[in-house]
Symmetry: C2
Subunit: 340 residues, 2 copies
């Protein structure tokens, strides 16, 4: 992009043509898999991952030397409704913790030998409370998406997308309700740990926000603008830009997947270059994954956000690449093939 | 042990007193978890893993600098029944492949920075065909268990146990049927990829073997001797020795879990220092995990054996340790705690 998109119409134009994967590289990966010293299919999803990385990196063999973990942080007006177990000031405090290296995602990135970047998005100016007015103006939403696009550098082998934002599971639940229907309680869970009356208030906020803006949410980008948030819009932008940059994407948990689902709702092929790293303990995530047809790589009862699940899954992808590239073939190893 | 046990009675004596975990170290782990900059419980199983490692390593904080992956290889007389998709010569060929560094487990160990040891167990002398006679004599079985015990060096932070042995899912299925009941077809699956008449022959072999020895399988160790195999007996020994050495264990897939289940059948606390790395695609594994009360860490449709699932799960345990040891506390980071 020569200049950053400044309106949702420009974003809509960019998000209309989804770059295809490299099926030739995928076929090369499949052909090599069949020669490696193991019963066919016995490495399960590791085999599919090697092929998927080939298709979306557009090369064979795939590589995983430069994984990047990105955390977008934003604040939400709806936090004032008491929908989180933590005060809104925690968003900024946690960004400082990321920068100081003290958060879970820091340790997970170090363990996975992945590069971490944290993007703070106007934390002192939360989006508007979506139970009262649209969370963002057209320009604000477009700029947040464009900001996410800019976070995608050329040459990355994998982009892990996560978020930090007190009250953003409320926003994510509202996105899901508006995009996929159902009841507010289907999509709204404890988040950081709200229960009882606070959870009821959270469900009510989701319901009220979607009801208020129903008529105005004429397409998924309008939905994002009305009930989303800046860090969620940035994830939308990063998913778009990663497709253009031939960078496969690993989505983190409930909020990250809900953001990416905006693109799925606009075009079913939009997330073909994305995998979901883990099934969050946030109850709406399972329903969301089913709505977008994704099977998570991990299911460890995590619900932290901040790209922690995505960073944790990087070693699985590295392992898939290592097996694919490093294993001997039956011929090389002098191992007998399948009988009959 | 001063001298290696030479009879199953000596093994029975050793396996009678199960060393308790260090609940003090576990309590220290729990106390620290509560102070780290994340909502309580939000790292899900990573938090439980850090505590479990503390309990079974007997120290806090737990460490994971020295993981060891062990593959025991054995040959099975029952292979002559045509129960595998591969000829029995493949066991030895795959051991050569492990030594040359060409197998999946080699790449996975390298990716996880884990040490790999392969133990070849009399490959030129397969155990007896258990459909006709006991697989092993008392002395053979005891020596195989003792051999597995010897593989556990002091000072390891984690022991991953896997196996290689053409026809050993047949032996594992027979173990499960004899230990936990049900039908032969409940426990017998495609293994390396047998289908149709070959799968029917495999189920028939499992049924015949268990029926023939039913009266003689008077305890789990007799079951192991009659329908098990050397590499499975070695896993039994390694699980026992790891408990004595304060080394937590990660079991691989169906065959490894079936071997360890011999100890569970003898004493329900025997596998408290073990986790199961992954749910194998071999259908009996799910039933087996339910029988021994274990929840696998990964579910990626793998069914290769050779400790591949266990090696793949090492980075998850390393990540748990890294988060536990490296994260800042709320006080250190100046992050506000939970409201109310």
């Amino acid at each position: 992009m020569s200049t950053a998109p400044a309106s949702l119409d420009e974003i809509r134009r960019i998000a209309k043509e989804w770059r295809a994967g490299d099926t030739g590289a995928g076929a090369e990966a499949r052909a090599r898999q069949a020669t490696l010293t193991k019963p066919p299919g016995s490495l399960g999803r590791l085999e599919q991952i090697a092929e998927w990385l080939s298709v979306w990196q557009g090369r064979h063999p795939p590589r995983l030397d430069r994984p990047r973990v990105v955390v977008f942080a934003g604040n939400h007006g709806v936090a004032a409704r008491g929908v989180s177990a933590y005060p809104a000031t925690v968003t900024k405090q946690m960004v400082a913790n990321f920068i100081a290296g003290g958060a879970a995602v820091n340790q997970l990135c170090k363990a996975a030998d992945a590069d971490l970047r944290v993007y703070e998005m106007s934390l002192d100016e939360p989006t508007a409370d979506f139970t009262l007015e649209p969370a963002m103006s057209d320009g604000e939403c477009a700029r947040a998406i464009a900001y996410g696009m800019m976070a995608v550098e050329p040459g990355l082998d994998l982009l892990c997308l996560g978020e930090m934002g007190i009250a953003n599971t409320t926003s994510a639940a509202a996105l899901c309700l508006a995009l996929f229907g159902g009841k507010a309680s289907d999509w709204t869970g404890p988040g950081t740990g709200v229960l009882g009356p606070a959870l009821a208030a959270k469900i009510a906020a989701v319901e009220a926000g979607v009801a208020r803006h129903r008529g105005a949410m004429t397409d998924p980008f309008e939905t994002l603008r009305h009930v989303g948030g800046r860090e969620l819009a940035a994830i939308v932008g990063a998913v778009i830009a990663a497709r253009l940059a031939r960078t496969p994407v690993l989505l983190d948990g409930f909020a990250s997947t809900a953001a990416a689902a905006v693109l799925f709702a606009a075009d079913k092929v939009a997330l073909d270059h994305c995998l979901v790293a883990h099934l969050s303990a946030e109850p709406g995530h399972r329903r969301l994954l089913s709505a977008i047809g994704q099977a998570p790589l991990l299911d460890l009862g995590m619900r932290l956000g901040e790209a922690s699940g995505a960073a944790l899954a990087i070693p699985l992808l590295k392992a898939a690449v290592a097996c694919h590239a490093g294993m001997a073939t039956f011929a090389e190893a002098g191992v007998s093939g399948k009988s009959g």
